[in-house]
Symmetry: C4
Subunit: 267 residues, 4 copies
Amino acid sequence: MRALKRFLEHSLVQNLIIALIIVNAIILGFETWPPIASQYGSILSVLDRALLVIFVVELSLRLVAYRLSFFRDPWNIFDFVVIGIALLPATGGLTALRALRILRALRLVSMIPSMKRVVAALLSALPGMASIITLLLLVQYVAAVIATKLYAGISPEFFGDILKSAFTLFQIMTLEGWADIARDIMVHQPYAWLFFLVYILSSTFTVLNLFIGVVVNAMQEQLGEEVKAEHSEDVAREQAHFGLLLEEIKQLRAELSAIRVERQSPP
Amino acid sequence: MRALKRFLEHSLVQNLIIALIIVNAIILGFETWPPIASQYGSILSVLDRALLVIFVVELSLRLVAYRLSFFRDPWNIFDFVVIGIALLPATGGLTALRALRILRALRLVSMIPSMKRVVAALLSALPGMASIITLLLLVQYVAAVIATKLYAGISPEFFGDILKSAFTLFQIMTLEGWADIARDIMVHQPYAWLFFLVYILSSTFTVLNLFIGVVVNAMQEQLGEEVKAEHSEDVAREQAHFGLLLEEIKQLRAELSAIRVERQSPP
Amino acid sequence: MRALKRFLEHSLVQNLIIALIIVNAIILGFETWPPIASQYGSILSVLDRALLVIFVVELSLRLVAYRLSFFRDPWNIFDFVVIGIALLPATGGLTALRALRILRALRLVSMIPSMKRVVAALLSALPGMASIITLLLLVQYVAAVIATKLYAGISPEFFGDILKSAFTLFQIMTLEGWADIARDIMVHQPYAWLFFLVYILSSTFTVLNLFIGVVVNAMQEQLGEEVKAEHSEDVAREQAHFGLLLEEIKQLRAELSAIRVERQSPP
Amino acid sequence: MRALKRFLEHSLVQNLIIALIIVNAIILGFETWPPIASQYGSILSVLDRALLVIFVVELSLRLVAYRLSFFRDPWNIFDFVVIGIALLPATGGLTALRALRILRALRLVSMIPSMKRVVAALLSALPGMASIITLLLLVQYVAAVIATKLYAGISPEFFGDILKSAFTLFQIMTLEGWADIARDIMVHQPYAWLFFLVYILSSTFTVLNLFIGVVVNAMQEQLGEEVKAEHSEDVAREQAHFGLLLEEIKQLRAELSAIRVERQSPP
């Protein structure tokens, strides 16, 4: 068991897996480049299957080696799901899933420490943002219901039902083509600009604050550490200086007391 | 009275109200999803009315319990208005107001402390921004008057009157489709690019500074508090150290004086 | 002279001028609202002329009171130009200038201190940005020449001459409709995406750095002052403590010396 | 050799070159302004050739003066390539390269120190961003492969092959016209909104973090230096104070010891 772990974590094995993932990503990329796909399609397909076998073997070995603790690392769950997708039969409604095989390339992130750190940093910003994201979703939901109620009849393409409205409102939040949508509705409801103005201002302001949260968080972490290290150094130095001075003064006092004692019992 | 307050603020009652608000939000959402709305429309409508009754009762009880101090909390006024909207007759020009019933869902914000804090933080940034927002509105007004004077004849759709101009200028400020509008006018007035360039640069620069204000404000609050706590700790420690050293030295002096006195009056 | 200055700077006179500027802004706004403009157009025009007379008188008095030092304040030059525009004959190529009469409303900025401070803060960020703005203009010029050389034949509407190219590139920098322009050209020159990619990345990256410069500048000013005040307080306190300790120790030494002298010359 | 270096680095020669670069940039600009280009085209062409000769001579002299160390400064390599482009024959597939002659104007950046510093600051931010840029490219590649697999059949114009998909995804990342592309596909694949939503959120979030990295980096450099200078001043002052106090106390102790010694050997 321990030998298997050592084998899997050996840098040669790790680098081989990284290389195979890159090769696999290139193969899957070639499949989307018609001139090559049409000529070498079958070879690419065989290679992809061969690589899949290797990945399945590697994943199985890791499962054997780490057992249930394997599932403690979210990156392992990601690997597990991505490999699992490739093993599903490509029939019926699942053909779309075949397109997700390329997600394997994202395993590179979990295998290269510097990339892993960047993604961890990106994701670490999210929990602190939970409240504001919930608020944003609530505002989106409320706006979608209002927009559907008000404009479903006028503009069924954009606001026909709540899902269409939610999509359109997301589009408006990205400020893409919002004015044309608003103008079409304002032909029938001249005061519709009020809804769009309020929605754009409130949603972009909330998103801005979401961004600020991420920025302040990042600065607190990156700048803060440096400043904190410096500060605790300052405190330590000041403490040491204070200690030395106090010690000196105390010895002075001891010496004075000694003199006094000597005086009272003269030689 | 006190019993009523205790009842209303009891966590069970609060959680029940939160649950009913969520249920109500879902019901109002279903009404905008045609397959469900067409089949269960009447049931949804009855449920909505039943919930409205509960909310009216809850609001009345709060009014009785807190009397005029009820209106001191802006969230209460918000509740009052939102419930009031639902009680208006849905006839004539007021049908649009029925769409605002879903605003009740925003009461969730006032009932969940973490959400309340986020919204309070968002709104707290606004007062400091009053000057720059006034400036932005003034620039918008001036630009709208100029644009109407210059382009009302050429492009009545976009700049026909001051309201249309204001809307179009807001659109241009979001950089959405501004180039097409500008090009249409530049066919007739080749120097119109000057107006659009100046407007885009000045309005986006002002908005950028509005954003910076919000960012700096947020950092001052979030980073500042931490730094301030640390700083007052530093000051306190330094004061304490200074006090101790001074005390020691004073005792030293007292001892010296004692020696001197002893010397002058030898044993 | 001094009396005239005191009269002009009297808060009553200032507030009257502010009120007249607002009234004038509203009048000029009404002129762009067809229902009112068509009915009361002549009255509005008379009122505007009357107000212009008052502003001319006020400006002349200020010129008399301050003489050449009047032109030292850039806001005064702004007033002078804006009033001057209104006095030009509205004929020939100058009709467009009549639309600029509303610029008078911007005098509000110079008359309300809090607004003046905001605008001063906005403008204060510009000098530090001179280098990066020059760089941006240089990049724009170079890109405009290249784009005209490469695409004038293919897309004369967007890149026909250097001015059209500069306008189109500014449009692309705002990311508005850039993809359609690029795709039209890529039909004829498949590698044109390279130019657009490089241009978008370099120009947005430069603008981003322009923004960062403004942000860092603003933070340095707003946060910096507070921190600096605190810091100089800290330094002063530390200096005072050090001085007191040193004084105490020196007195101690003086006392010791006194003892020694006394000993060597016993009573 | 040393004389040649001194000649090339003489401020008169440097300013002459700067002037010639500006003249050359203006000439190349005039070539893209039809009214002038058609009338004075041949003169402009002759002038451009004359200036090219001067630049080639200057570059050769610099090559002679600095030899291989010439290529150590990346700005020199830039000059070398840009001048080299102009010397290539303008035939066949290379006509496009003639449009790049204007890149010479960018030599201004390398000749004006303040501009050079700005560009160096811009580029200095890049190495620290390597990980996140790699991540962004990986995400782009994965998304392009998925989009091609899923939508090549439905929307060959936008997602026909991996290069078209990459271009379209870059367009979507700039939020330009993304909704129309998404809606066209959603007609055939109703769940396509999921792909676009995930792609937009993840790519804009990554770009946001790229920006934050640049901002934090810039602040660390610009604000950090100031703070660090101040801090090391504080530390130095505190060290000096501590040293003085310690010295005083030690002298006190020496004096006490002297007293003690005197006492034990009385006069």
